[in-house]
């Protein structure tokens, strides 16, 4: 295979993208662990967040080897969408968004949470934190690359 290692203008940029990739991969495997190994039911909103999260594993990987700065555009769109859905989900669980705005009808209510790490970290909160962290990493990667 003809593999050329193009370098970003700033070497730290690659590391930031790589860190973002590690984060999405750990989150993807983590969410699969919850649903497939532990058997936690997956609600509709969780699926929407998965739809935004899972492609990032491949998109970021392809952008890393060889390095392609355009990966930022593609991954930012997924991250932004995922972040918005995660925020909605967190507000719903917290009860800030009213019952009537609830999009989940089939058997598994989205306002119900199953896992509480350290007493307060439920899955929607983890998701929001992860999307936020990816956003921050991508933001700094962009700043370094353009400066």
């Amino acid at each position: 295979m003809n593999y050329t290692d193009t370098d970003p203008s700033n070497p730290a940029t690659w590391s930031l993208f790589f860190a973002a990739w590690v984060l999405v991969t750990v989150s993807t495997l983590g969410s699969l662990f919850f649903s497939e190994v532990m058997g936690v039911p997956v609600c509709v909103l969780c699926w929407y967040q998965r739809i935004a999260m899972y492609p990032l594993v491949l998109i970021l990987a392809i952008g890393l080897l060889p390095f392609d700065p355009k990966v930022l555009r593609y991954s930012a769109a997924f991250t932004g969408l995922g972040w918005l859905i995660a925020l909605f989900h967190v507000l719903l669980v917290a009860g800030i968004i009213p019952e009537s705005a609830r999009p989940c009808v089939q058997g598994i209510p989205c306002s119900e949470t199953h896992i509480a790490l350290l007493g307060f970290l439920n899955i929607p909160t983890l998701s929001l934190l992860t999307f936020t962290a990816i956003g921050i990493l991508l933001f700094y990667a962009n700043r370094m690359e353009s400066s």
């Binding site: 699969l32 890393l64 080897l65």
Partner: protein, 212 residues
Amino acid sequence: MNKKTIFISVTGILLLAFVLAAAIYKNFQGASGGRNQSVVERQSAPVKGPDEAKVTIVEFFDPACGTCADFYPLVKQLIDQYPGKVRVMMRYAPLHTGSDEVVKMLEAAHLQGKFFPALELLFNNQQRWIVNHVSQPTRARGILNGMALDHEKMATDMNSPDVSQAVQQDVADGQALNVKATPDFFVNGKPLPSFGYQQLSQLVKNAVEDSY
């Protein structure tokens, strides 16, 4: 170390961690098997098969669940396969929207000794009373109206505290046993190692060998 090597090693480490964690978790779950019999069984729940059978399959089911309908003949077959040795106890897990009303009808039919005919009627006509995975209690009632039942008594029983208490007990025990999908089986208190007819049949075979 070049970037490609870093990338591939990290991928390998993450996948390995996932597989290991899954194996450890499954192992841990398996060790905690053999549940409290008083949570798994409810004395007054509908039972098919002889009372003196030493092997009890407890099935948590939703009348609106397609897989439950598919499993029903297979479970009956297990009872016939070990005559006098195996019985099945049916417990309600109304996970579909609207099913909570339908299981009350089944419990009311059970009070008249007609649980299994009512269940078979509902299972065989699922497409007539379930729309987009949502149970339509009025339609289910319409189907049950065709049965030879004391319908007046059924209407009263459906809303009686005894019936809703039986259903609530099943729902509470289902939650305690971590029933998140239907059908879910327990054979003499033991959960299936993984879902499937083969696994159920094996678990029943082992239980029969242990008990007789």
